[in-house]
Symmetry: D2
């Protein structure tokens, strides 16, 4: 099949949409309704909001005689698009016991059928192009939410004294950590930003020139064992290692270790995972770290975090020297999330997708074990506030 064939699009659409349901499959309807903190959303809300995205940005614009599946859903499942209108308050998403999961599944099925009909219809070239553009954005958006479904359900289950497993599948087998080596890069004038024919988010553009001074990156991510040494050396008690705001964060919350770690009675270290609470694997990459922790750890070693330009420059040129660029943990950079030179937001509500968040957030590069296959790339810019740690976030050192 070819991209010009509507069946190709319908198949791709269904494959992505189906994966969201598959992620919810191990969970009960009760699990899908709860919201563990304002930053996280219920699984049911993710399933509905991603559907709302297709309904609002495609069906409402392109379907003849459009009728909403349910008029109230326009408000209930709007995340942050002021251009669309009212929104159900974010911290109260866990109170939406109605619509029921069954109704959300019906909502998904209805929208899926209508999107498929739209693809199958004989659209003119311009409409066809618009449909493909918006559907692609909707699917990439859904993949972003698939990662959030895993981080959010992990956070929810971790709150429970029963420490339930999300899945009983076998987790990754422990493997020895490779030695950490430094890989040097020459730097110079470099083009940064997406360069290709496929999809990218608007925040990866425009591709533009930057000067990058010579630098080195660590060949792999910091491991649990290495991070444990920082804890045991008193890292969480020494203000000289921390940014001022990070030290306040540590003190105000009384922090002593990463988010899901716990020291059990016999002194052994454990970590809550999607497979329940397990002994800490010293060789696995340290995960669920805030930028504050990543920066303090680097400071402790006399190293630093990479800039996002260094990371992208290296990813384009590393030739296999760097491990875990993708698929382990997102990697904090020291770069604040800012528009690339010449960046312009799109007109209308879709212009709110990225641009309005470019303040007081920091860029992460790479991808994690929770990122859908094929979703990320070297120019991909993930971003979170410096204190966020419920994502799969780790450390690649630079110097």
């Amino acid at each position: 099949m070819h991209m010009n064939d509507p069946a190709w699009w319908i198949a791709r659409y269904h494959a992505v949409r189906q994966r969201s349901l598959a992620l919810a499959a191990p969970l009960s309807d009760e699990d899908c309704g709860a919201q563990s903190m304002p930053d996280a959303s219920p699984i049911k809300w993710h399933l509905a909001h991603t559907t709302w995205f297709f309904e609002t940005f495609i069906l409402e614009r392109m379907e003849q005689g459009f009728q909403p599946f349910h008029p109230a859903f326009r408000i209930l499942f709007n995340s942050y698009y002021n251009g669309i209108g009212e929104k159900h308050p974010r911290p109260r998403r866990g109170l939406l016991t109605r619509p029921a999961m069954a109704q959300v599944r019906a909502y998904r099925a209805d929208v899926d059928a209508r999107i498929a009909r739209l693809f199958a219809a004989g659209l003119d070239t311009s409409a066809r192009a618009q449909l493909e553009t918006l559907a692609t954005l909707g699917l990439e958006h859904e993949q972003q939410h698939q990662e959030l479904m895993l981080t959010d359900v992990k956070h929810l289950l971790a709150q429970n004294l029963l420490q339930p497993e999300y899945t009983t599948d076998a987790g990754p087998a422990p493997a020895p950590a490779a030695p950490l080596e430094w890989v040097a890069f020459d730097g110079g004038l470099a083009d940064i930003g997406y360069d290709g024919d496929g999809f990218c988010f608007d925040n990866e553009l425009p591709r533009h020139r930057q000067y990058v001074a010579p630098f080195s990156l660590a060949s792999r991510l910091v491991s649990n064992g290495e991070y444990l040494a920082f804890i045991e050396a008193g890292g969480y008690r020494d203000p000289s290692l921390w940014l001022a705001e990070g030290w306040d964060w540590v003190c105000n919350q009384g922090l002593e270790m990463p988010m899901y770690w716990r020291r059990v009675e016999d002194g052994a270290w454990t970590e809550f995972t999607l497979h329940g609470r397990l002994p800490l694997d010293p060789n696995a990459p340290a995960a669920h770290l805030s930028l504050f922790e990543a920066d303090a750890y680097a400071h402790w070693l006399g190293a630093r975090l990479p800039t996002e330009a260094e990371w992208e420059y290296a990813a384009q040129r590393e030739g296999g020297a760097l491990r875990e660029l993708h698929g382990a943990c997102w990697q904090w950079t020291s770069s604040s999330y800012a528009p690339y030179p010449g960046y312009r937001t799109a007109p209308g509500a879709l212009g709110e997708y990225n641009g309005k968040f470019m303040l007081n957030q920091y860029v992460l590069r790479g991808s994690s074990s929770a990122t859908p296959a094929g979703h990320a790339r070297a120019s991909y810019r993930n971003f979170f506030p410096a204190g966020a740690r419920w994502q799969f976030t780790g450390i690649r050192l630079a110097r």
Copy 2:
């Protein structure tokens, strides 16, 4: 059957316990898991906690070879008994997606069977008496939670833009309000507190003497129509009518009307009910009022709220002159919740049932449409903080 027959007890036990499940019957498992505010609890939690009460205070003490249904439930479903040990934090009850509703139902069935076995066993007289005392307390406790199940689910559903109904049963038919008359009482030395052979809570004792000056009570509760006149006269904008703390409460929350009222686009007043959002019935008793609102309303009319001694004195002597003493709305009194002279808390964790809450709360008398039949009586002392209004609370005037 007679109270000396174990079957009498088992039947009564099952009747009360069954009613809790019946209250949950119109709800989905999703509805049962959510917590709309820290003061409210999920239905599932109510169902489990009331079971925990029987398990902890009866089975754990009296069952041979006691094994808990699940060791973690001791913590998860402990409400506020420090004497029992750790507690799951109250504001996070809505995160307990596990145990599932099905497991909570199994928990109920298991404990029910074991309690029934205990009743059927040949206990010695002293153990028998202890069992009957504790079971009675457990059932009265469960009835209190049955009222909370209704107030809490109403609050939850009211948060939802869909304004769903709890039940599709026909609600009460509107009826004309009787004229409001003043009923005079002589007062004098009176004995206050429970006086009988049945059950009462420890806060209704010791029966003791008080001097009550002559007073009058309104023959019925304040109606919606009467309360609406207060709103329309600017009651929520005139600080001279309010207690200082009440005025802060009005201003800080920007309040203009009772909790579930709303003025819709055409100017009509509506009220959210267990049957969804309905037009306001001007003849029904005004409900979901805080003590602040009740006091301001009385102040506006040059009247006042009764003391709890007046209310009890009148209830013992009214001879049919007072309507809606029970079954409509709980009635705020001006009496702070305090121990009766000579009151002593019971030893151990059960001593925490009432005594430790006797501060900064105000007594309500009567009972409401949500109170289980047979649960309340003239000496019954309900209590809430002055700002609470998600309960079925109304106004009986005094002067």
Copy 3:
């Protein structure tokens, strides 16, 4: 001189007013401007507000051709009288560096001269009576603020690492504590409330009948040494001794001892006083205790706090058996601050003096070492929220 002589009134007026200035005499202008917490006020504000009271409630009503000393002072120095209009926000009183202390002194002198002229003028009988009533209220009001000046400046100085003294006068000489004995009272029907020809506040009226059951009071207040035994027995770590709200208060603030106590490096106990930080005198009455602490201490001993009716009943009949009724510490009662039967607030802004605070506060009886001579009496009702402890508040036990 006689009360019918204007000179008597002018002399009394000046004596009370002069004492406020005398209390400020040991302080710099800088000391007089700071506000250590929202519940406390700067000394300068006290000096101005008490003057505002005379200007607003006497001169504005009674002076021919009244012109305010400064128009903005009507807002700046209004404490809580909504009937007067706008108010400068209470937590920001410490930002009023203007008017300067010198200007506040000038304000006092100006108002004092005008009040004296009013007394000296030939008023008709009715105006004369009104003037005497309002001036008396103004002076009693000023005496209440004189006590607050001492509690507020003590709180301010205690925040300072330098732990400065308010006064270098010799403090009270340590004296042995008398043995604590129980004094029994018969109780019965009693008249409660002010009964005399002099001044009382409206909250001491109407005098009314109450039934008081037999009871005993401790012959003196609890001493520092006795309270220390409670601390050393783990009183601040045992939830079973505390009201639920009190236990939250202890835990949330991490409390382990009374407000101004500290254990210094060698293990010795000290107390911050108006004479600076001093070794704790075990025989002095324990002071600066909240109702929570008073209640927990009483609970620990199997005793209780008196009701306000018991306290007043006893004070009228004790015949010298009770020490420290006055002049040491205010004594917490278990009675919530509520209107006496038949109480009505006065019309207009002066009606806000007491009535609107009758909620979620508890009554203290007696008087303290900071109370002006002649200000308190047996029927006097002081009141504070249960967690307040910057006042001179102690414990008299009952049973």
Copy 4:
């Protein structure tokens, strides 16, 4: 005189130190003690802290037989140096009525005399160099606080209903605004960072290479009149113009205009200034704007804020084309405050001066009317959080 002459240093030292006292001269001791918000400090605290800096970082290290002026001052006047030890809590600086202003003046005189003695002493070359380095830093530090003294006292006086003047000197005469023109720059590879023989802060180093794309800057700052047009066009009510965090900031605080603006009864616009409240001058640069407001304004015009590299690049090359680079308002850039490539913090407590604040703050370039003469330069990096607006901060547009 020459820099090699101790008298040159002593004269410079006294000149800078004297100016701090001159800034306090129009203020009473009461004015000098108050703290209007946690971000601001009392004038007295600024006077003491700048002295503490010299005492702690010079005298304590270099003076023979050093004795502190007062041992407690080490804690009281430490701002944020964890390396020095304990600190008096920042939000409570306004409670330090002791030491009195007179004592702080004595502290200044004592330290000044000892610093002068140190300069006059025959130090060896290395000690001499250290003294000059530290004294220079101390004086630049004091100049930074001189600007803060003006912004903090302005904020304090603005809270007061009396709207007092800081100074009765004539303010700047209104002048017509020059037309706003766009000045184009070629860009290219540029060296950014301080390049000279004089003093700079460590955050201006290392000088390093950056690639700057072609850009234009506005020839002057945005005026009050221009900003007023934004308000009147509904700028504060249109979420599409604002960063997401900025829109929350506007809504949560109910903002409608810049910090010190007010619309008076007749509809005229006024601005609180150091000369009291004055009519708004439409031609003066708009000041006291947050980054949120600056960004929204630029967005509204289809323009943007400059990066700090663009600003510095232009300032080095503008040749008189750009007005108000210095001396009017600090100019927000879109650049987050981050370390330059190769930046290292100094060892010890002085390393806390800048580096630990490089997160969630944004760079401002230029200088303001409150900046001491000679303090700023083209490479100077001022920084504040995006919501700060009590500084003299304005807008230079870029595109």
